[in-house]
Amino acid sequence: MSENASNCIIELKDVVKSFDDTLVIDHVSLSVRKGEFVTLLGPSGCGKTTTLRMIAGFDLPTSGQILLNGKDISLLPPNKRPVNTVFQRYALFPHLNVFDNIAFGLRMKRVVNTYRNPKGEEYTRTEKLTKAEIAAKVKKALEMVDLEGFEKREISTLSGGQQQRVAIARAIVNEPEILLLDEPLGALDLKMRKEMQIELKAMHRRLGITFIYVTHDQEEALTMSDTVVVMADGVVQQIGTPTDVYNEPANTFVADFIGESNIFSGTVTGKRKVRFCGKTFDCVDDFEKNEMVDVVVRPEDIVMCEPELGMLKGKVISVVFKGIHYEITVQVGRYEVVIQSTERREVGETIGMNIPAQEIHIMKRKYTSNIYDGVITKRNTVEFADGEFECDVTQLYPGSHLDEEEYLVTAQGEKIDLTGTEVTVEVGLEDISISDDAEAGGAQGHIISIIYKGDHYRVIVRTDESEEDFVFATDDLWNENDYVSVIIPKDKIKLTLKHTEEKAA
């Protein structure tokens, strides 16, 4: 523990952050070693920027702790933290020139100098940096970012790339223990971005300080970082080296977000055996037999061969040249398989495919069915997930039926008013459909995720009010953020009583 602590510069312990009841960071724990280049990676709104802002001190955690060198800094204001930030849109002071922008932090700084009085006794004084010291430091910082001689330039006369460099110089000139970078390359064009990636990496090596970098660009994360932290929905999905997160994605989200992948629904059929796309494959992961799993295969890991020699056989339906490789889409039965290969194939050609056992990544399925807490209403419908659905309440009591007044009559002939009864609602992944007519279904929400799984899409719809998720499979392609209503057939809503014992008694 102590060894760990000395090596670790910043540590987030069970940090939660919510803005006006909206949970943005959901129990995040994370520790960063001294000198490491850590990237927080995720789609927009995943909480990566909020995490960075809490480390910088712009936002304070709702609960949990942030430790810097073992000391709690959770509530310390930003100007007291030995941390500097490179802002997303640079945040350079428009009223100051390059020199004054970079010198801003130095002028705030107070250093303790030791002097010797005539008697030879030592004493200390807290002093500002001298003009010469400031000028020397600014000059060095400008050299570091290749902007020698830019001191007098006004910010508005600089190009985007130059502003970016000034922003970096302004941060590193203060010699922070940690440099925070909030999507610093987002505003640059592709070529510039590539150059800056290399320079930032070199700068990290030269300065030897810790970099915490936020981006939504997976390629940027993989090329630059020592450690990648993949986030989604305010939750850390996976922490690992770039190789780890690419080769061993922890779940389908990571697999889908980082790199290209084929994601299939599969079943474990035996020891190191998994069945998907209608065939049983050897694999290297052990799961319980008959467990429903997600199977991830990278497009470049699929080996093409003669039709009769492959485990899978299919017809090429599209070939796209991507510069270094071809992207070949093959129809295998009702599944679509994407392959990346340097070899060309023709559309319409029938090919065989093999997948080496070590390239089949199996992960526990996160969603096998939807389960909610619900309440029976007066009209014998069930309310859950911000919606109201028609259901068959007679399934709660075997042999019961409804009388003319819509009261439930049990097999014993007992009349029960179900209004207000708390139930557990279960809906299968295949039993939900959606419509863009908001009135068509029992609940409404926005689509927050779509993942293609070879022959269907797995879609998650989240309701606006209490943020309940509906997870389901569909053949239709929807768009993220679409506002839709959720339709569930009456007979597909499985209800179970919550307090069976009490009812019985």
Binding site: P77, P78, T85, R89, F93, F104
Partner: protein, 264 residues
């Protein structure tokens, strides 16, 4: 060759151009003419010389400047926190509160001055403290002219600049002096001009609240309108030059800062 008369888009401006010539340009030239002629309509600098050699005239000007300066300073001190608080507030209704500061501006100006006159009369200041009353009245009437330009510039300051300052070690005081104030300078300048100029010239306030005992430059011009157009024109011309120079210095008139602006 005779060009056929044809409707062009430019010709739409002709009526307004004519209007400007007759009711803006010519009257200005008339002022210049009167300013530089004597009573026999001969070209002369007598008004100019008389103006700058008469101590009573000069002292009136100085009084007027001092009143305007104090009014402007008080407005700035009161308005800056209002504008700052509203601009940085995350409240959804902050726009409504800003509107509340502007709303009194839509009541007839003279009625508004009359209202403050009644208030001053009620607390017993009317006729007792003419200069103080004039300043109170001007601050009351011109405050929104200061709040609005300050609010618009402060609103434009990106939140990340405050964060950058804190990130680089600035505390709230240094952030205010080194970031907020310099960045809101355009608003400060335009607010100052919009308060300073009417405080020198709008004599309705000083007449109604100062018991007609306070003479500001605007009133000064009016008193000459009855007796000596030449001197009146000279003072008007000097005022005109002062106003144009100060407007140029503060970066010109911005329509977005206009308090009665319905484009709010």
């Amino acid at each position: 060759m005779i060009k056929p008369l044809r409707f062009t888009r430019k010709s739409l401006g002709i009526p307004y151009a004519v209007f400007l010539v007759f009711f803006v340009i010519i009257p200005m030239l008339v002022i210049v003419f009167y300013a530089f002629t004597d009573k026999n309509n001969h070209i002369s600098f007598v008004n100019f010389i008389n103006f700058f050699s008469d101590p009573t005239k000069l002292s009136t000007i100085v009084y007027s400047l001092v009143i305007a300066l104090i009014t402007t300073a008080v407005c700035l001190v009161i308005a800056y926190p209002v504008a700052y608080i509203l601009a940085r507030s995350k409240m959804k209704q902050k726009y409504v509160i800003l509107m509340l500061f502007i709303t009194p501006m839509w009541i007839n100006f003279v009625l508004r001055v009359n209202a403050i006159r009644e208030l001053l009369n009620w607390i017993g200041l009317l006729g007792e403290a003419n200069y103080l009353n004039t300043i109170i009245g001007m601050v009351y009437d011109f405050l929104p002219f200061m709040i609005l330009p300050l609010y618009t510039t402060l609103l434009k300051i990106d939140e990340s600049l405050y964060e950058a300052s804190a990130d680089l070690g600035g505390n709230s005081f240094t952030t205010f002096t080194r970031v907020t104030i310099p960045l809101s300078m355009p608003g400060i300048m335009s607010g100052i001009t919009m308060v300073f100029l009417p405080s020198m010239t709008n004599y309705v306030v000083s007449d109604m609240l100062g018991n007609s005992k306070v003479t500001i430059i605007g009133k000064f011009i009016e008193t000459y309108f009855g007796s000596d157009w030449h001197m009146g024109s000279m003072i008007a011309l000097i005022l005109l030059i002062v106003v144009f120079v100060s407007t140029l210095l503060s970066g010109g008139f911005k329509s977005e800062d206009n308090v009665r602006g319905t484009n709010l």
